[in-house]
C-alpha cells in the first residue's frame, strides 16, 4: 500500500525535486495512514531521502540502466509499484519523468494527473489541482481509478524535512531486450551551467537587449545570481539565442523562485510559460509593457544602464552575506 515515488537522479545523485516529491508523498502518506517508498536507480548513497520522510528505499543497481531509457525505467517502476502494492505512484515534473509517466499509467491501469500544484483537495473522491491552459487557469481533476499516477510541478509544495529512519532494500527487476530497442546514440549536454529546469533563479532577455552581442550583460547578472539564462520567443526566432533557451507557452516552462525579465514586453504566451515562478522582476524601458501587470517588482529604465549596476549590487550583497 506504500506510496511509491520515483526519486529521479542524474550522475548518481538525486535531483532536488526528488526531495520535494518525498515531502509531498509523506504528507499524503500521513493523511492515508501509509508509508513512502522511494525507487532509486543507480544511486549509491540513498540515505539522504530519509530526511524528507521516506520510509523505505528500493535500490536498483544495474549497468543496463546507466543511460536513461524510458521504456526500461517505466518497466522497473511498474514492477516496484506491483511489489509495494502502491495505490499512488508519484513523479516530479522533470523531462525524463514526464517521458515515463504515461507508460507507467497505462501499465498500471492508472489514471494520471500531470502538472499537479497542490496537495489533494480531497482523497475520496481523489481530486487534485493542476495547471491547465498553459498556466492561464487551474483545473481540479478527479482520478477515478484505484491506482493513481501524479506528476508534481516544481516548487509547488516545497521541501519539508520530516526525518524518518529509512530502510534500504536491493531490488532486482526483470528487464527484457524489448525494453532497450530505443538506444542513445549521442548526447550533448552543457556542463558547468545551471539548466533552466533546475534553476532556482532564471534571468531572461528579450528584444529590448537589441542584439546577441549584448547578452554578456545578462550573463553577468545571471552568474552573480547563480541563475540560468533564458530568452523570449522573438529572440530565439531571430537566432540571437538557441531554441533551448526559449521560455514561454511554446517553449520551456519556468517554475523558478525568481524570474528576472529584461527587455521583455510580456506577451500573453510568454507570461503563460513563466507564470509558475514565485517572484517576478521586470526591467523595461517602457512603463506600459504588459509585464508590469504580472510582476512583483519592476524597474522602469534603460537595461544597458541598469544591468551592470544591478550585477555589482548583487555581487556586493553576495560578498556580504556569504
Amino acid at each position: 500500500m506504500s506510496i511509491l515515488i520515483y526519486a529521479e537522479s542524474a550522475e548518481g545523485k538525486f535531483k532536488k525535486t526528488a526531495f520535494e516529491l518525498a515531502s509531498y508523498a509523506k504528507n499524503i502518506a500521513g493523511q492515508t495512514g501509509t508509508t513512502v517508498t522511494a525507487l532509486a536507480i543507480n544511486v549509491a548513497d540513498a540515505s539522504v531521502l530519509a530526511a524528507y520522510g521516506v520510509d523505505k528505499v528500493l535500490k536498483v543497481t544495474n549497468d543496463k540502466l546507466k543511460a536513461f531509457n524510458a521504456k526500461a525505467f517505466a518497466d522497473v517502476i511498474k514492477q516496484a509499484a506491483a511489489k509495494e502494492g502502491s495505490k499512488f505512484v508519484l513523479f516530479s515534473s522533470n523531462t525524463d519523468s514526464l517521458y515515463i509517466t504515461p507508460l507507467v499509467a497505462v501499465g498500471l491501469e492508472a489514471g494520471y494527473a500531470s502538472n499537479v500544484v497542490a496537495l489533494p483537495e480531497s482523497l475520496e473522491p481523489f481530486q487534485v489541482k493542476r495547471t491547465a491552459f498553459s498556466n492561464k487557469a487551474f483545473n481540479i481533476t478527479e482520478i477515478t481509478t484505484d491506482v493513481k499516477v501524479l506528476s508534481i510541478g516544481k516548487n509547488s509544495f516545497g521541501l519539508k524535512e520530516n526525518a524518518a529512519s529509512a530502510t534500504e532494500e536491493d531490488f532486482t527487476p526483470s528487464l527484457n531486450d524489448g525494453d532497450f530497442t530505443v538506444k542513445v546514440a549521442s548526447s550533448e549536454k552543457v556542463s558547468g551551467q545551471v539548466t533552466i529546469a533546475d534553476a532556482e533563479i532564471v534571468v531572461s532577455g528579450g528584444r529590448g537587449l537589441k542584439g546577441p552581442e549584448n547578452w554578456g550583460l545578462l550573463e553577468d547578472l545571471a552568474s552573480a545570481l547563480g541563475a540560468a539564462t533564458a530568452c523570449s520567443k522573438p529572440v530565439s526566432d531571430l537566432g540571437w539565442r538557441p531554441h533551448s533557451e526559449h521560455v514561454g507557452q511554446t517553449g520551456k516552462p519556468v517554475a523558478a523562485n525568481l524570474y528576472v525579465a529584461v527587455g521583455i514586453s510580456g506577451a500573453i504566451q510568454h507570461i503563460a510559460g513563466i507564470n509558475s515562478s514565485k517572484v517576478k522582476v521586470v526591467i523595461n524601458a517602457d512603463p506600459e509593457a504588459p509585464f508590469f501587470k504580472v510582476a512583483d517588482y519592476g524597474v522602469v529604465g534603460d537595461a544597458f544602464d541598469i544591468l551592470p549596476k544591478l550585477t555589482e549590487k548583487i555581487k556586493a550583497f553576495k560578498a556580504q552575506n556569504s
Partner: protein, 248 residues
C-alpha cells in the same frame, strides 16, 4: 511510409481563458481555435516526408464536428486524408484508446503527436498511445529522420539534447524544432481548394472508460500591483528580494 499525425483542436495561444456553468466548462465564446502548435510542427515535418520520400499523411482528431475546420486546415497544408473520431475527448487516456484503434486499423508506421496540447497540457496522449499499441516512443522530439525502418530522433533533455536510434513503428511526442517556426505553412488557395475534395472520414468511438475527469476550473488569483523601484535605487531592489521576497 504511412504517417498518422494526431491533431488537437485548441484555443489560439493569444486567447483569453474563461469558464462557464459555474466554472465547470471552458467558455468557447469568441475563441479562435487552431491546430495545437506542438502538433503543427509535427504535421509540417510529416509533409516534408511526403514531399521528400513519398510518405502518405493522415491526420486524426478525437472531437466533435467543430474540430473539422482544424482538420480541413491540416488538409489544406498538405495532409492526404483526415479522420475524425466522433467523440468528446473525455480525457487523455480515452483519446489514446481511440487513437490506438485508428492506428490498429490503419497500419501506420509512424505516429506523430504533439508532446502536449495547449489546452489541458496533459502531456500523456503520445506516451499512452505508444504503450497501448506496443510501439516504441520518443518524447520531446526536436529532430526526426527516417531511413527505411531506421529512425534517428533527437529529444530535448535538461541542459542539452540527446540523439536516439529506434525502429519503426514509432510514436513521437513532438515539439518546436521538428521544423523551424519559419517553415510552418500557411494554407494557400490551391491547398484550400484541394482540401475540399480530400476525404474526411468520421468514425464512431470504441467503448473506453476515461480514467480522470475535469471537475472544475479556477482562474489565478488577481495579482497585487507591481512595486516600482527607481533605477537609481537598485539597493532597494536587492534588499526587497532578500528581506521581503526571500529569494536571494
Amino acid at each position: 511510409m504511412k504517417i498518422l499525425v494526431c491533431i488537437s483542436h485548441v484555443p489560439d495561444t493569444t486567447a483569453k481563458i474563461n469558464f462557464t456553468n459555474n466554472y465547470s466548462a471552458f467558455d468557447t465564446n469568441g475563441v479562435q481555435f487552431v491546430i495545437n502548435p506542438n502538433d503543427e510542427f509535427g504535421l509540417t515535418r510529416a509533409i516534408w516526408f511526403k514531399e521528400q520520400a513519398g510518405a502518405t499523411v493522415t491526420v486524426v482528431n478525437v472531437g466533435g464536428p467543430d474540430a473539422e475546420a482544424t482538420l480541413r486546415k491540416a488538409l489544406a497544408i498538405g495532409a492526404d486524408e483526415a479522420i475524425r473520431v466522433n467523440a468528446a475527448p473525455a480525457d487523455g487516456f480515452f483519446v489514446a484508446k481511440q487513437l490506438a484503434e485508428v492506428v490498429k486499423n490503419g497500419g501506420y508506421d509512424l505516429v506523430i503527436a504533439g508532446k502536449e496540447s495547449l489546452d489541458y497540457n496533459g502531456g500523456m496522449v503520445p506516451g499512452m498511445l505508444a504503450a497501448l499499441t506496443g510501439a516504441d516512443f520518443v518524447n520531446g522530439c526536436i529532430k526526426l529522420d527516417v531511413n527505411g525502418s531506421d529512425v534517428t530522433a533527437t529529444r530535448e533533455i535538461d541542459g542539452g539534447k540527446e540523439t536516439l536510434s529506434a525502429k519503426l513503428p514509432l510514436v513521437i511526442g513532438g515539439q518546436k524544432g521538428l521544423v523551424e517556426e519559419k517553415d510552418l505553412r500557411i494554407p494557400n488557395m490551391r491547398g484550400i481548394m484541394a482540401a475540399r475534395t480530400k476525404a474526411l472520414t468520421i468514425v464512431e468511438p470504441i467503448g473506453a472508460e476515461a480514467t480522470t475527469k475535469a471537475v472544475k476550473f479556477e482562474k489565478p488569483a488577481p495579482k497585487s500591483a507591481v512595486k516600482l523601484i527607481s533605477p537609481d535605487n537598485l539597493d532597494e531592489l536587492v534588499n526587497l528580494l532578500h528581506t521581503e521576497a526571500k529569494v536571494i
